[in-house]
């Protein structure tokens, strides 16, 4: 039998859910109008809550962007007096102003409930011992999970980030059963355990990991599960939307339920800004409908994903979003077609002859915009010239089927593409008119 943290809300009918969303959208707009930012925006667009008749009308509202948050730093988005706020989280901006998110006491309580709901969904109970390896402080993965786990009733171990040996000592000494951890660190921790002669399955009580905060592939998840003999669930959060708890995988491990009693979810084409149908990739746009201190309306997350069509076997009616497919900032437009580098990557990764390094170059040849994809071979070589030609042709055909344009594919030898430190450059645009 499937157990729910809040059965009524989690399995609410779509009709009732949409009714609830509309009511909460009205409340949100009324509150938002008290912030200096939305006061200006609503006046500019001549809109107010009474002009919204249905969820469809949401489209009449303008988008909110990260730049708006930066420009109204620090308190220009506050919809309630600061004396009624009890916490702020600020994200460090690498460029320009950082962003600030304010919380009332009720906001914090709702956020904790959101996280508790997620954790309960993946089987975590008040009998569990939950260790949070997130950094605390401004980073929302720390306090976000802390309050959520306490709300759920777990015994919490706020171990915070780093020091693998200490983490492992807590896990074995306290009998930790659940962990919140970054995927790459989960693999590191498993390696340290093995090096220390600790068998995660024999010597620990670990059974469930909440993994998130950095993009990871399905293969990486399965590797974590195998290495540690646990179940790992993908969690999604972003600091502008409180932090963790926005969306979370259920036990089906097929998409992340996004809590629609907290947020209204839209997927838009980042160029036309029009909604895309379910199943189609676009930019995730979120509206908070259960936040007092700092409502955000149609916030453009820049994250690319899609709504998974169909109902989930777990019985929850809240929509599921797919694993993230990149950032809309990375989108390329070629010959009127929208292309995301991740699409290219997904095709290339299907060929075992290829390595993992590739470079997309957009250029103008004879007044035509062309895409050149250079990809390194992996540990593959051949004495047979026709095999290379066939490989080139097969990959090109697969790329064409996915991208709808025909790129020029060039196989290059292993190690010949530039390797950058930090953020990898995958796309170079040399087009004349760009």
């Amino acid at each position: 039998m499937i157990e729910y943290w809040q059965k009524e809300l989690e399995t609410i009918s779509r009709k009732d859910l949409e009714k609830l969303q509309l009511t909460r959208l009205w409340q949100t707009m009324e509150r938002a109008e008290k912030s200096s930012f939305y006061q200006k925006v609503f006046a500019e667009y001549n809109i107010s809550a009474d002009k919204i008749q249905s969820l469809e009308d949401l489209k009449k509202l303008p988008f909110t962007t990260k730049d708006d948050l930066r420009n109204y730093y620090p308190f220009g988005m506050a919809a309630i007096p600061l004396k009624d706020c009890v916490r702020l989280h600020s994200s460090s901006g690498t460029t320009g102003n950082p962003t600030v998110v304010l919380h009332s006491a009720k906001d914090l309580d709702e956020w904790a409930n959101q996280v508790a709901r997620c954790m309960y969904m993946v089987g975590i109970r008040d009998t569990d011992i939950f260790q949070n390896t997130s950094g605390y402080g401004m980073f929302t993965g720390g306090l976000g999970f802390q309050y959520g786990a306490e709300k759920l009733g777990c015994l919490t171990v706020p171990s915070a980030a780093g020091n693998s040996k200490r983490q492992i000592k807590f896990i074995t000494d306290f009998g930790t059963t659940c962990l919140h951890i970054i995927p790459s660190y989960a693999i590191r921790l498993a390696e340290v355990m093995l090096a220390e002669g600790i068998d995660p399955q024999r010597d620990t009580k670990l059974h469930t990991f909440c993994i998130g905060a950095e993009p990871h592939s399905e293969e990486q998840r399965q590797r974590i599960e195998r290495m540690l003999g646990i179940k790992a669930y993908n969690c999604f959060g972003m600091s502008e939307m409180n932090g963790p708890g926005v969306a979370f995988e259920c036990k089906e491990q097929n998409g992340l339920h996004i809590w629609e009693d907290y947020t209204i979810v839209e997927i838009i084409d980042p160029v036309t800004l029009e909604p895309v149908p379910d199943g189609e990739v676009g930019e995730l746009v979120l509206t908070t409908i259960n936040r007092e201190a700092m409502p955000l309306i149609r916030y453009r997350t820049r994250d690319l994903t899609c709504i998974l069509p169909g109902e989930c076997k777990c019985g929850r009616t809240h929509k599921r979003i797919a694993r993230f497919k990149g950032r809309s900032d990375d989108m390329i437009i070629l010959k009127g077609v929208n292309i995301f580098p991740i699409q290219v990557e997904e095709i290339l990764m299907q060929f075992k002859e290829l390595g993992s390094n590739y470079l997309i170059t957009m250029g103008t040849i004879d007044n035509n915009d062309e895409m050149l994809i250079e990809v390194e071979l992996g540990d593959f070589s051949t004495d047979d010239y026709s095999r290379l030609q066939n490989l080139t042709r097969t990959i090109t055909r697969h790329l064409k089927d996915e991208l709808l344009i025909t790129p020029r594919l060039k196989l290059v030898s292993k190690g010949s593409l530039p390797v950058q430190e930090g953020k990898v450059v995958r796309v170079v645009d040399l087009r004349v008119n760009s």
């Binding site: 071979l377 593959f380 070589s381 004495d383 047979d384 060039k410 196989l411 030898s413 010949s416």
Partner: protein, 141 residues
Amino acid sequence: MTVNQISIFLENKYGKLNELLTLLSKENIRIIAATVADTTEFGILRMIVSDAQKAHQLLKDNNVSVNLTEVLAIAAQPAADGFADILSHFTKAGLSIEYMYCFSSKEKSVLILRTNNRESALEVIRKQNLKCITENDLMNL
């Protein structure tokens, strides 16, 4: 009856070939024969070296994608009709030659061949009593 050939994917970038050859010579691996098949896009460097296994490992360790292929190495008379005789044995047996190249040392000429069917090719060699060069011979060339 066969020898190992080293095949390396080559982009048409200056210096890449030079780099590879320097790597081999530093380890005293001699290049007995080499050929590059190329187009504007890329090429394949095929080589017969004095120690194919050692060369293979060395290149691998240096992050070069490399392939070892068994090829036929047949001793021939150093005249054009010597090559023609040998090739005709294979074509008469219905085999097609995927590629061939040759090298000479002192009085000996050697034909390097790859056909589309290894077993039938070996059969031809046995029947026609052709003289093959072995890996050991290569080290002593």
